[in-house]
Every structure is written in C-alpha cells, then in structure tokens.
Amino acid sequence: MGGLFTETFVASLLFGAVTVGIPLLLAGLGEQISEKSGVLNIGIEGMMLIGAYGGFVAAYYTGSFWLGFLAGGISGMVVASLMVLFCVILSMNQIVIGIALTIGAEGLTALLHHFQFSRSYPRLSEAPSLDIPGLNDIPVIGPAFFERHPLVYLSILLVVFVAWLFRRTHIGLNLQAAGDNPAALDAAGVDVKLTRAGAVLTTGMLAGIGGAFMANVGAGIFVPFMIHGAGFIGIVLAMLARGNPYWVLLGAALFGASLALTTALQVAGLNIPTDVVQMLPFAMVIVVLVLFARHSYLPPSLALPYHRGER
C-alpha cells in the first residue's frame, strides 16, 4: 500500500485538512468573541447551518462565491439576532436558547431544502482559487495551501486581526470586561448589552460564513444536517484556546490534520478497527483538553445574563 502515498495523494490529504479546518477556525473565532463578552453561544451549529443554506442559495443563483459568503454571513447574523433578543435583551437561559436555535435551524433548512432542491440536488462548480506565485509550485504543500479560494487566506489573516483587536483596542477591552466584570464596564459608561449584542452578531456572521464555506467550497452542495457537529467542535476549540485566537488556529489545524490522518490510515489498509481510527480527531481534542484545560480561562460572567444594578 506504500505505493499509494504519492505526492498527489498526500497533497490531497493536506488540501482536505485545510478545507475542514477553515469552517472550524471561523466558528471557533466567532465563539471566542462571544464567550469573551460573556455569552455562551451554543447555537453556533444552527448559525452555521443557516449560513450554509443561505450561502449555497446565493452562490447557486448568482454564480458568485463571494455573494454566497456574504449571504452566509448575513444568514448567520439573522439567527444570532434571535440569540441577542432572547439571551442578551430578555436575559433567557443561553444554553436552552442555543440548543433551540440549532434544532430550529435544522428543521427550517431541511424544510426549505425539501421544497427547493430535494428533486434536483444542484451542485456548484469548483471554487475559484487564488494562486500565490512562487509558493504554489512547492511540491505537496503548494497545491494544498497556496492554490486556495481567497477566503482561506482571509480567514488566516482574520486570526491576526482578532488577536490585535483583543489586545490593542478598546473594543477588545470592552469585550473582556463584558465577560469578566460587566458591572464595572457599565460603571465606566459602556453599554454591556450593546457590547454583548455586537459580539453575538459577529459570531453569527463568522459562523454563517464558515457554514457557507462548508457548503460551497467543502461540499459544493447543500444537504440537510450537513454541518455535522462542526459548530460544537468550534465551541470546544474556543474554550481550549484560553482567549487566544492563535490557539483557535492551532486547534482547527490539528483537527483538520487529524481528519486527514484518519483517511490516510484507512487508505493504507491498516487492519485496526475503523472506529479507533475515526476516534483520532476527537481523542486528539480530549488529550489537548486534559493537558491544557486546567489552565483554560473562562470569563466569570460567562452564560450569566447582565442586569443593571444587580450584585
């Protein structure tokens, strides 16, 4: 089976790892922003699913991947606005609302898909790529990392931007304060609910774009329930990352690489139970959790609604 591990095959594995990693990265970054502000966004799976549907519909009818991502982001924000209404404004339980949003999104997208696409199952063409001159010629790595849709590069740059936002800007400080000590933020004259609402809407946008990426670039098609837990993995990555966006990037890369490795091990014909191989990405996350969870930082006001004047 060693002969199967050609340059083309390994490049394909790496290509797949990046494709898996980008939606996780976007979801993880979004969740990190939300959690930093004190909102535990369990509904991110539903936001991704709605984003996948909205993004696919837009890309299919307009032929533009960019409009697809835009529509995905807006769709995610629409779901996030419900989270804002129920959890930030009406102070309802964030976990219950998050679960409800996910279940609702599953039902809604399945229904819409049923009426719109279930007889035709349209597929998109191959996503256009932006080749980075000089780098895309590198064997194996070039096609996997430097012949990608521009959104891949933008997603990586977004990590740097979010890190800068957290550390160097008032917005980052406000987010941190909204999660750590919302009363202090309020006393400083900053609207806590507005800060949290902005964070949740940003999460919805990023999750929606991630979902649209999954549908348009990852699958080239929308099918019901297609997010398949990526949103929940994004939540885990955000929690492990201890408020550091670079750790989200590392976690997403690790998970994508583990998934690629599971395919490689199977293709190699390794005669061990597939369940064991398939467990690898999740085991990897658990190992990281065990190693680093004790250092993980969660905002003290996470998942707690803010009521002005309440001690």
Binding site: T6, L111, I221, H228, T262, V267, G269, T274, V277
Partner: protein, 354 residues
C-alpha cells in the same frame, strides 16, 4: 326443578355457543384487518434518491396496495425518536417502520410501551413475536456484480469504496463489492475509507474523503452514504483520476440517473416493497416478529442499474454471473462484521485466481 335446571343448562349452553361464535368472528375479523395504518420514520427527507426515499416510497406503495392509511415521518434526524413513535402510536398506527439503524433501540422500547408493532433495521437478533420485526437488508449479491463491473471498467487498476458509516447492510455490500473485484482476477486494488462515525449526512466529508481516494489511484468509486453520497458525486465530478481521465461513481439503493452529469456508472438498486408487503401480511397472519426479511437478485428487489456508460459485452457478462448467483453456482457470502470487511480489502491486493 329438574326441568328448570335442564332449561338453564340448555340456555347457558346456547348462550355460550353464541358468545363463542361472536368472539371467534370478532377475532377473525381483527386478524384479517389487523393493519389499518402504516407509519414510516426516516432520518432525512424522503427525497434523497437513496435509503430514505426508497423506504418512504416503498411504504407508500404498500399502503396503496393494501388500502392502508399512510403516516410518513421524515427528516427526524439521528437523535431520539421516542416522542415521534409515541405520537404515531397515538394516531393509531398499526405498524411503525423505524427506517434507520439508529432507531433500533428506541423503537422496540416504544413497541413494548404502546403495544404497537415496529419494524427495525440491522438487528436480526432483536425479534419479538408479534411486536418487533427486523429487516437487515443487503444488496451484497448486487454489490458483487458492481465489483466486477468496477474492475472491468477501471483504467488505473485501483477502485475505491467510500462509506459514511459501517452498518451491517453496508458492510455486506462493501464485502460483496470486494469479492466481485477479486472474482475478475485482474489484480485490482481496493482502497477503502469510512468518512466518519455515522457521517450519513456529511456531504463535505464525503467529498473530502472521495477526493483523497481518487488521488490514491481509484478511478471507480463505490459509494454508500445517504446525504453524504452527494459529496462523493461532487468529488467524482470535479476530480480527475490519476491518469487524467474521468472518475466513475457506483451508487447504492436509489437511482440518481436524473441528477447525473456523466459520471454515474451504475447503482445497486434496492426495492423494499416486497419486504414491507411481507410485514403487512405477516402481521395479518400472526407471524410478524418470528422471521427476518431480506432482499435479493432473484425477485429483482436487488438489481444493478444499467446506464449508457456500461459497454454491452460487459453488461452481458454481468448478467450471466447474476444468473449463476441466483442458481447458487456462484455463492456470495454475507459478511456483516466490519473487521471481516477490512480484512477482505487488504487481501484483495493479491490477485485471486479466476
């Protein structure tokens, strides 16, 4: 006094006979029309050109055939279906077909709770007389033909199997496919990959894994996987084989010809109407839950889809083998265990003697 006693006994005997006759007629009528409403529960919409659609369409057809009320419950997902089962039981379902292996824990529980018979999949040892029936369907003999077809059509000498899980039905088809490949004696290699644990709706995963399998040399993909199979098709349509030529796709259960963009080589088609018909008849005759149900080549409940891409000479040779399988001269073993399936894949590396 003796007269009165005799009269009483006579009247009692007549009343007893009349009551007995009434009960017998009533029971007979109940047995004859025990099934009034048939319900089917599927995890995805019944429009997937595959497992879900075949299940819903077959149940609908059987309902029409026997004049029954049809209660479909589609798009239920892979979570807890107990509330839906209870609801269907409340609506008066006489038989609930729980059409997903993920439902075969909940469905028997609700059957015990409500007394409404259920049919479950992939649990042949779960039979309960009158209450729980099983249909562990397998198109392994059809998959055997598909394996022969794949080997004969492959240019690269490597074919791939991509599955979105390892339920018994798909294991046996994967094994049947591998045995078919071996039977050609062409030394064709088989690359086997599972997308993920129960990744039935993971279209992105289906595409990713299929692209990798094609990159590993496979130019014919045998794909099994509900919604994820659309990702596999997308991969086949957008990825060239390592020789620069076209990659082919062999589907299972349903017929996706209407969606094909020129890459659908064939499909191992399933027809569940005979199975569901047998369930209704067994319920009416009181045999339900005493035997499992199967499909096969002999009654065309399993058959290979003929597309324009299959050369006539290859098709004719396949039909000859089909007849030999039906005759019993070419036995195709049913392999349901995942470990045995994997062992079969690696052993395929050595060319088998014709």
């Amino acid at each position: 006094m003796r007269d009165l006693l005799g009269k009483t006994i006579r009247h009692a005997a007549i009343a007893g006979l009349a009551l007995g006759a009434l009960v017998a007629v009533s029971v007979g009528a109940q047995a004859g029309d025990m099934v009034k409403k048939i319900a089917v529960l599927v995890p995805e919409q019944g429009t997937d050109y595959g497992w879900n659609q075949q299940g819903v369409d077959a149940a609908r057809a059987v309902a029409e055939k026997y004049g029954l009320e049809f209660l479909p419950a589609e798009g239920l997902g892979y979570g807890d279906v107990r509330p839906t089962l209870r609801e269907l039981a409340d609506e008066g379902a006489s038989l609930m077909i729980a059409h997903a292996s993920g439902y075969n824990t909940a469905a028997p529980e609700i059957a015990q709770e409500t007394g409404v018979p259920v049919a479950i999949v992939d649990k042949p040892d779960g039979l309960v007389a009158g209450l729980v029936g099983d249909y562990t369907l397998s198109g392994h003999d059809g998959a055997y033909l598909a394996g022969m077809l794949a080997a004969k059509m492959s240019r690269t000498g490597t074919v791939g199997i991509v599955v979105s899980g390892e339920p018994p039905s798909w294991n046996s088809q994967s094994a049947g496919f591998a045995m078919g490949v071996r039977a050609t004696g062409m030394g064709t290699q088989i690359v086997y990959a599972v997308i993920g644990p129960a990744a039935y709706g993971d279209a992105a995963g289906g595409r990713r894994v299929t692209e990798s399998v094609i990159s590993a040399g496979a130019d014919v993909i045998f794909g099994q996987g509900n919604g994820s199979s659309f990702g596999m098709i997308q991969a086949v349509e957008t990825t060239k084989a390592v020789d620069g030529g076209k990659a082919w796709f062999i589907d299972v259960i349903g017929d996706k010809t209407g969606l094909d963009k020129g890459h659908l080589l064939s499909s191992v088609l399933w027809d569940m109407i005979p199975v569901y018909s047998a369930m209704v008849e067994d319920l009416n005759s009181g045999k339900f839950g005493t035997v499992g149900y199967k499909i096969g080549l002999a009654d065309d409940s399993v058959r290979l889809l003929k597309t324009k891409h299959i050369p006539d000479d290859i098709w004719e040779s396949l039909m000859k083998v089909r007849q030999q399988i039906i005759d019993g001269s070419v036995p195709v073993a049913e392999v349901y265990d995942a470990e045995d399936v994997r062992a079969l894949m690696t052993s395929v590396e050595a060319p088998a003697a014709e």
